[in-house]
């Protein structure tokens, strides 16, 4: 194995040129594959891809989305104008915080929300409060030149106020898989790290495709994902988790609901008769002990699966990992 790498100097060099975080990620993704000999090929393939990307990136400037004079329009319809790559960034969205570190721009992050605790290094960054309806004063206090926000209506006012204060903003939806694919290059461009951005985007896409390519856990596996019990909330077809289930090889029983978090009734769940019920640790406990939930066949037959929401919570660069984890849980449940 090591002689293969040695024979490819580009792989080694480019591997050491990569920010440590991304290399780690790549390694983990790579080793996630079953140890059946495809490891070497995969490592080399990634190494070549990365090396090639660096060369191409270095050789072909300007990058496809140049920072100076770009006319990116974000999901709020605002135009991004940056004279130079952003140097002080406040990220008001856990997804973009994680992305920033992956892009190697972690040291440019000067503010994060209270919920952004991944990666570990993010904890050292100043907490500026809520990501939805943020404290604009606290954000401005960090003197950012770019603020990344989540496209929720509760952030409209903050965007106006930040722009009025002369600070650039990028506001995006980060609800679904496709959203992330769209956002990565835009943010990478704003930071001047286009090449790494492309690599990350490709890696994420590849990791998802890899999980999709695996054999389905069962011919037709239906699942109910329990989000909340007062009121009863689940994931609809318009949500990331529903997509994730699809990638992992199962079908969301409430996929026909257009909302991201539709409210449902116990009777309806029982009628749709999912094969498994997924829930976080607290929710699973409540489901198992509640007489009302016994109405659902999957609960009666003991097929309530615990999902650690920290891993699968939202779209991010670790989506592939999340999908893989989910699939493993589903597969394991079928073995019982």
């Amino acid at each position: 194995m090591s002689d293969l790498v040695r024979r490819n100097p580009f792989a080694l060099r480019s591997a050491s040129l990569l920010p440590e975080r991304l290399a780690q990620h790549v390694r983990r993704t790579a080793t996630g594959v079953a140890a059946d000999g495809t490891m070497h090929v995969r490592r080399i393939a990634i190494g070549i891809a990365l090396g090639g990307a660096m060369l191409v990136g270095a050789a072909c400037a300007p990058a496809p989305a140049p920072v100076s004079g770009n006319v990116t329009v974000d999901d709020f319809g605002d135009t991004l104008r940056l004279a130079a790559p952003a140097l002080r960034v406040v990220s008001l969205n856990p997804v973009t915080t994680e992305l920033l570190f992956a892009l190697g721009a972690g040291e440019r992050l000067v503010g994060r929300t209270s919920w952004d605790l991944y990666p570990e290094a993010a904890k050292a960054v100043t907490d500026v409060g809520n990501g939805m309806g943020p404290n604009v004063e606290a954000v401005l206090g960090q003197r950012p030149d770019l603020v990344l926000l989540y496209a929720s209506e509760s952030n409209r006012l903050a965007v106006q106020q930040l722009r009025a204060a002369g600070v650039m903003t990028l506001t995006h939806r980060t609800d679904k898989i496709a959203d992330l694919q769209r956002v990565i290059p835009i943010i990478a461009a704003a930071l001047g790290t286009d090449a790494i951005g492309r690599v990350i985007a490709d890696t994420v896409a590849a990791s998802l495709a890899a999980v999709r390519a695996l054999p389905r856990p069962a011919d037709s596996l239906t699942a109910y994902w329990h989000i909340w019990d007062a009121p009863l909330l689940t994931i609809g077809g318009g949500s990331y988790l529903s997509e994730l289930l699809d990638v992992a090889g199962a079908h969301n029983v409430f996929e026909d609901a257009a909302l991201a978090s539709p409210q449902v009734s116990m009777e309806e769940i029982a009628r749709r008769d999912p094969d498994v019920v997924l829930a976080g640790p607290n929710g699973a406990e409540r489901i198992r002990t509640s007489p009302n939930w016994q109405t659902v066949r999957a609960v009666r037959e003991g097929r309530v699966l615990v999902i650690d929401t920290a891993i699968v919570g939202r779209p991010g660069i670790r989506m592939g990992e999340a999908a893989r984890f989910l699939r493993r849980v589903l597969v394991d449940s079928l073995k019982r």
Binding site: S265, R271, T295
Partner: protein
Amino acid sequence: MTSKHWLLLVGTVVVAVLAGVAGGAVPMPLGEVWAALFGQGDATQVAIVRNLRLPRIALGLAVGAGLAVSGTALQATLRNPLAEPYLLGVSGGAAAGAVLAVTLGFASPLLLPIAAFVGAALAVLVVLLVARAVSGHADPRVLLMAGVVVGAFCTAAIMVGLATAPENSVRGALWWMMGSLGDAQWRSVRWVAAYVAFGIALLVLWARDVDVLALGEDAAASLGLPVERVTRRIYLAASLLAAATVAGAGLIGFVGLIVPAIARALGARNTREAIVASALAGAALVVFADLAARTVLRPAELPLGAVTALIGVPFFLWRLRGLK
């Protein structure tokens, strides 16, 4: 009240129960519903009918009867046709108790109703103490004003709680406050039903005293009634009865306000008749409202408090027209 009216009331309750069992988010042919009642048929359908619908209906009957009787007793005792249990601190206290529990992290299905009940009971006692401190005795007008003041204070406490509570639990607290029979389970419905039955029995026992109180304080004193003591005990009994319903099903407004008016419109001649008639009418109303709440926008469920308000407000306006 004529026997025809009694028959109408009882019949309405029976129809409500039948409709409640047969109707729901999942359409079921009547034959299957009947079979499911006896445990036959598809296991899921049996579970739906027996574990979901029947406890809900039982809870609805108890809550409706409790709120209506509480309203009847309070309106007569406070000599105000617009009085209802929620005006006297019950709803504010219960909601404040629930939100406090949620903020502190005790939001389990067991602890939340207890926190709500304790909150309501405390608010009721505070109202009584405030009224006594202000006027030296349980003067009905002062009770009502103290109730409004305590309610306002509770609202402020709720807002503080909601602003500082973790985001997910806020949604749960708000949902609970909008009222729902969705958590009905036999083991908890039993308690609520027993409590409500006891409360109603107590008020039936004291119904004659309420008749006398309704004449006015001086006339009641002339008839030998210990006005202060009787006002206090009826106020407490009626309020705690309402508090139990709130603990069981969240805030369901207007029932305590409009059902007593319905009972009187049907011809209830004295408090005893009004209590029994209110219990029947209130039980039927809540069961029907719950049926609407869970079928109109299926599979989503409307908050029960919203449905009773939608029924109650037009009825209330209609009654206001008839008042001189």
